[in-house]
Symmetry: C2
DNA sequence: CCGGATCCTCGGTGATACTG
DNA sequence: CAGTATCACCGAGGATCCGG
C-alpha cells in the first residue's frame, strides 16, 4: 500500500514518496476548493480509474493529508477534505502550477478545463498588490463550470459551484488565458468573443488587473 | 516516450506531465548543484535503473529542462545541466522539500544521505535575514559527502566536493537535523557527538543560526 | 445511484547483464 | 564511462460488477 521509497533521508524524497505517484497532487489540488465526494473527484479527474482513486485516497489518508468527513447535502454520504498538513501544500502547488502555466501554450486536442483547474489558475496568477482596497464578488462561467470569485482587499477566495449569484458574471472560453497572460486587452477579449460580461463591465477590467501572469 | 498526459488544460497537470514521473524531480534536484555526469547521477540516485535514468534524461531534455554539455575534467565526456526553465524550478523544489522535511522524523532503516540531499536541506532551511552582513566559508562533511558552504550577506551558495579547504569544517551526522530543527543547541550537538568542529568554533554557531527550520 | 471492489491487459519500473 | 538489452513484475488503465 505504501508507495515505494527512494531510500534517501531527504525532505524532497519523502514528499515525493507521499504524493509523487500519479494523480496524487491533482487530488490535493481538487481538495483545495473544499471537501469532495468520491464521485466529485472521479468526475473532475477525467479518466482516473476508480481503483487508483481509491488507493490514492487511502494513501493520502494514511499519510495524514486528508480525512473523511460526513456530508449531508445534497445527500448523506462521505467526503474527503484536507487536513492542516495537506492544506500546507497550497503554496507549493501554486508555485508548481505557475511554473507549468507560464510554459503552457494553448489547449491541446481533447484537453478539458475543470472547475478545479480553473480555480488553480486563478490562485497561481492572483496579484495581491493589485487587489489592495478592492471589494468585489463576481461569477466566472466556462462551459459547465461555475465559480464564484470574491476579491477583498489584497486577498481572494474561490468557491466552486454557483450557489450565490453575483451581480457580475464573466462568461469565458479557455482562450481567457491570453487575457491573463497579458496578450489580450479586456476590450479585445470581448471583441474576439473570448469573454462576455453579464452585469457591470468594470468587473472584467478588475479581473484582468488582478489575475495576471508575470 | 512522452509521459502520459492528464487531459486537462491546467498548469499543474502540464508540470506533472513533464516531471511527475518517478525519479524526475530528484534528477532536477541533483542538477541544482551544477552539471552532473551520467555516472554521478547514477551514484547519487541510489537504486535508479540505468534504463530509467536514460529515459528521464531524454524526456527532460526534450522538455527543454536540461541540456547536454561537454566536460573535460577530470576526464572528457558529457554532462547534464539545467536550462533556465529547469533552474526556474528551484523555488518550487525548495518549497516541496521544506514541506517534506518539516514532517520528516529521523532516518529510516537503510536510508542514506547524499551530498545533493544535504545541499537541498540547506536550501530549504536557509534564513536570509539571519545571514545579513555575514561573510563566511565553511566545509560540511557527512560520511563521504563534502560540501562547501559560502554565506555572504543574506545569500549563500553550496558546492559539492571539497576542492577548496575552508578554514572551518563541520563534521556532522544525519542527526544534525535536530540542530536545524531547533531541538538541539550547538553545545549539545557537540556534546552528543552530532557535530565536531575543525577550526573556528563560532562557525557552528553561525551555521546553527543561519540554517534553521521554522 | 453512490462508493467502491474485482478482473484483465498493458506499459513502466526494477534489476541485471552486456556493449561501444 | 555511458549507456543498451532483456525480462520479471507491479501498478495504471479500462470495464464490469457488487453492497448499501
Amino acid at each position: 500500500m505504501a508507495a515505494r521509497g527512494y531510500g534517501q533521508y531527504c525532505g524532497l524524497s519523502r514528499a515525493l514518496e507521499l504524493l509523487g505517484e500519479r494523480w496524487g497532487l491533482l487530488i490535493v489540488r481538487d481538495l483545495l476548493s473544499g471537501p469532495h465526494r468520491f464521485a466529485d473527484l472521479e468526475a473532475s479527474l477525467v479518466g482516473i480509474p476508480t481503483s487508483v482513486l481509491t488507493n490514492r485516497l487511502k494513501e493520502l489518508e494514511t499519510a495524514g493529508l486528508i480525512t473523511r468527513v460526513p456530508v449531508h447535502t445534497p445527500r448523506r454520504g462521505t467526503a474527503y477534505t484536507l487536513t492542516d498538513d495537506g492544506l500546507a501544500l497550497e503554496p507549493t502547488l501554486v508555485e508548481l502550477g505557475r511554473w507549468g502555466g507560464s510554459r503552457m501554450g494553448g489547449p491541446r486536442d481533447g484537453e478539458v478545463v475543470t472547475a478545479e483547474s480553473l480555480a488553480m489558475a486563478l490562485r497561481t496568477t492572483f496579484r495581491p498588490d493589485r487587489a489592495a482596497g478592492m471589494d468585489r464578488e463576481l461569477g466566472l462561467v466556462m462551459g459547465d463550470n461555475v465559480l464564484t470569485v470574491t476579491i477583498r482587499d489584497a486577498d481572494f477566495d474561490v468557491t466552486v459551484g454557483g450557489a450565490a449569484t453575483p451581480a457580475s458574471v464573466l462568461h469565458a472560453t479557455p482562450q481567457i488565458k491570453r487575457l491573463i497572460d497579458g496578450n489580450l486587452t479586456p476590450e479585445e477579449a470581448v471583441a474576439e468573443g473570448v469573454v462576455r460580461v453579464d452585469g457591470d463591465p468594470s468587473a472584467l477590467d478588475d479581473f484582468a488587473s488582478v489575475f495576471r501572469l508575470d
